[in-house]
Symmetry: C2
Subunit: 179 residues, 2 copies
Amino acid sequence: MRIRRIEHLAIAVNDIDEALGFFRDILQLEVSHTDIEEGQRVVVAFMPVADSEIELIEPVDDDSGVARFLQQRGPGIHHICLEVDDLDAAMERLREHDVQLVDKNPYVGSSGRRLAFVHPKAAHGVLIELYEAQPGDRRIPRVQNIDELRRNLVNRSRIAAAGTRGFFAGLWSDGETDD
Amino acid sequence: MRIRRIEHLAIAVNDIDEALGFFRDILQLEVSHTDIEEGQRVVVAFMPVADSEIELIEPVDDDSGVARFLQQRGPGIHHICLEVDDLDAAMERLREHDVQLVDKNPYVGSSGRRLAFVHPKAAHGVLIELYEAQPGDRRIPRVQNIDELRRNLVNRSRIAAAGTRGFFAGLWSDGETDD
């Protein structure tokens, strides 16, 4: 497998607006895009840094994996995303080496992104998203109001994204709820 | 201030050799360099990823900041490093905005790197190293034996790098030991 780049770092925060007061207003990172990630029930602000991005993620309710992470650990880096050249081949390699995965198979996330998560237990405490670029999965720059995004997400049905959300909720707990 | 790129991510691990079994042998990242960071009392393995690096850091004794981090949180991402174009200007800006800093002024780390750390309390739980590239501070690729590096570091005097180590030891504790 070949890892092309660090595609993004995701930082879990309690309040994106407050966090932007540091990352945007003081560090002067630019917000290129804001959106919701329905499966994880988070609002996201994307800030490009060279060929990578820093993402701020804020949960909109108390029972998502990101919310659990915040409750247990406080704000901080939630996961890193590594772009691979061939996600199927990467997953096959990880399975061959008995690496514990959050997602047994790749799935399609927001904006048509094809991705899968490796369990932090297998990766020395780091939750790793593996992502393979697809034609047309580039995010279109668009900064929407954070409050509108929150309301939008809260109002949507609470149907969890297949499987993944349950895994995420258990990732940072002490118990073995996730496999 | 202008942030040029994510220069590296540092992952605190209990045992670099074991961690390389995942990051090098399974993810197939290449180790370009191994070294010690005397001030933080860690052995480091550097793995380039595009224009960034992933670093594995292993403490050699129990009383460094990285050791404390591992004791309290377990392995995981310890800090991120952002390259800035002008570190003095960046520090000035941070001071103007009353951002809590680990290092009040930039200092010269290993390989002649000029850097300073922002306190995680100011950065939503993320320990941020700011770094300004200097002529001649590129690391020369050289992979030394990890065990030799450990012994080398343990045998050196325990004189702490000015100030920084004490701050690092207190960073992740609940008490306000650091200011």
